[in-house]
């Protein structure tokens, strides 16, 4: 199972890549493997404010409807339209082209509550 070292992880299986006050968010390799074939993805609208732990995006597979939660609080500043056209990017490249949205962090201190790669690996029993 791929768990990049440079990311932080929410218990609900989202990752965040932090650069300055901006975070890029997606779902983990483990999450996409559990969901199986993803057939619908809908990133949040630009300008939307989300709180840590709140539903931010829709990710649905053939068999299961699933919500994706925001790992941090902030304002959505960019959404990945490519995954709307091709939701399989979440399966094939969850940490790259399958990113879901970018968020401006309003409280970087929240990052401390997230797992590092080792912690997330322990959580999923990998």
């Amino acid at each position: 199972m791929n768990i990049p070292e440079n990311l932080r992880y929410a218990a609900s299986h989202e990752w965040i890549l932090v650069e300055g006050d901006t975070g890029t968010v997606g779902i983990t390799d483990h999450a996409q493997a559990e969901l199986t074939d993803i057939v619908f993805a809908e990133p949040p609208a630009i300008g939307k404010t989300v709180k840590a732990g709140e539903v931010a995006a829709v990710v649905e597979s053939v068999k299961a409807a699933s919500d994706s939660y925001s790992p941090v609080t902030g304002e959505v500043i960019e959404r990945n339209e490519a995954i709307e056209a091709d939701p399989t990017l979440l399966n094939t490249d969850p940490f790259g082209q399958g990113w879901i949205y970018k968020i401006r962090l309003s409280d970087p201190a929240e990052l401390a509550a997230l797992n590092d790669a080792a912690g997330y690996r322990a959580q999923i029993g990998g």
Binding site: T36, D37, V39, F40, E42, V58, E60, V62, K63, A65
Partner: protein
């Protein structure tokens, strides 16, 4: 929880095991979309060992089955299979099943896994005349080999051509092994019954012959694209086969079968509901069972089945609608995630094979 004799093979092949109708079954191996495509474009093999096998024999077997089933058993030629329905006194569907005509006074019924006990109890309680009924579900495993390349796979397994006619039945080994050119996918292929103890061999023979292992996930999307009903979802004891659009499999000219009078009454008046095929027009999250259906802004029904069609790329669903809203072309809306999406009633099947 029950397991089919192929459980270990599924785990070995990387099958993702889920609960289905009291059985631990593989929902997928590599992925539902890939397996779906394999059946539409090549050949897939499904474990359908959870389904039930009933043997009915005796000089009154055909006449007795005709009192319990909607289709006409006495007109079913030897060596052929027939889709049929078993109804309760209210004309509602207990189960849908396939009848194999094995010999003059001998029949084999293939019934849904979730209904084995209930079907058997119903049939036993209605026994009459010179009829022997035997539930031998645990003795059999079954495979469905389906797809445009099924004939080639068949030829590798059996060293002879696959029967070209649909709904043919062959008893390969009396009482032990059968094939029928039937299926639940809309593709060519067979369903193959073998003794439970020989199932792993049959499964591995099918894989070696080029069939792609497929799980229940693809089985469901494939059957829904054809508009084939699933008992427990699209069929129920509260709905008649006429409401379900299965009138083709109901012979009202037969003098007597359970539920017949209700169907005659329905036929002479207006059906209270009709099972409709719904195509979603807007780009929408997948429609699933029990999603609300609206007409003119009012909730009128809910979906009984639904999926994002892998072959067609848009949402498809079925729902019972009142007669006023059940015509082809009727505009409806389906509610997904608190939003309503435009949809329209279309003719079945959703998916038509390219010639």
């Amino acid at each position: 929880m029950q397991r089919t004799p192929l459980y270990d093979e599924h785990v070995r092949a990387g099958g993702r095991i889920v609960e289905f109708a009291g059985w631990e079954m593989p929902v997928q191996y590599t992925g539902i979309l890939q397996e779906h495509k394999a059946v539409r474009e090549a050949c897939g093999v499904f474990d359908i060992s959870h389904m039930g096998e009933f043997f009915v024999k005796g000089s009154d077997a055909s006449a007795w089955l005709d009192t319990l089933l909607t289709n006409n058993v006495s007109q079913l030629p030897l060596g052929h299979a027939q889709y049929s329905l078993m109804l309760n006194e209210r004309g509602g569907v207990i189960d849908d099943l396939i009848v194999y005509h094995l010999a003059e006074d001998r029949f084999l019924l293939i019934v849904n896994a979730s209904m084995i006990e209930e079907d058997a109890a119903w049939m036993r309680s209605h026994l009459s005349g010179n009829v022997e009924f035997e539930n031998r579900s645990e003795a059999f495993a079954a495979l469905a080999i389906q797809g445009p390349l099924a004939a080639a796979v068949f030829e590798k397994i059996f060293q002879r051509p696959m029967p070209s006619e649909r709904n043919r039945v062959e008893e390969i080994e009396p009482g032990r092994s059968y094939i029928a050119t039937t299926g639940y996918t809309g593709e060519d292929g067979i369903e193959w019954l073998v003794p439970a103890s020989e199932s792993a061999n049959a499964w591995n023979t099918a894989l070696a012959a080029g069939a792609f292992p497929c799980g229940l996930g693809a089985r469901d999307t494939l059957r829904l694209e054809m508009g084939y009903p699933l008992n427990g979802s699209d069929l129920s004891p509260e709905r008649t086969p006429l409401e379900a659009g299965l009138g083709f499999f109901v012979d009202l000219k037969k003098t007597a079968f359970t539920g017949r009078q209700i169907l005659l009454d329905q036929k002479s008046s207006l059906l209270p509901h009709k099972l409709c095929a719904i195509r979603v027009l807007d780009k929408a999250p997948p429609v699933r069972p029990h999603y609300k259906v609206y007409v003119n802004g009012e909730p009128v029904s809910e979906t009984t089945s639904g999926a994002l069609s892998p072959s067609l790329g848009y949402g498809i669903a079925m729902a019972y609608l009142p007669p006023a809203y059940s015509d082809i072309g009727q505009e409806v809306e389906v509610e997904v995630r608190d939003r309503r999406f435009r949809a329209v009633i279309v003719k079945k099947p959703f998916y038509k094979k390219q010639p």
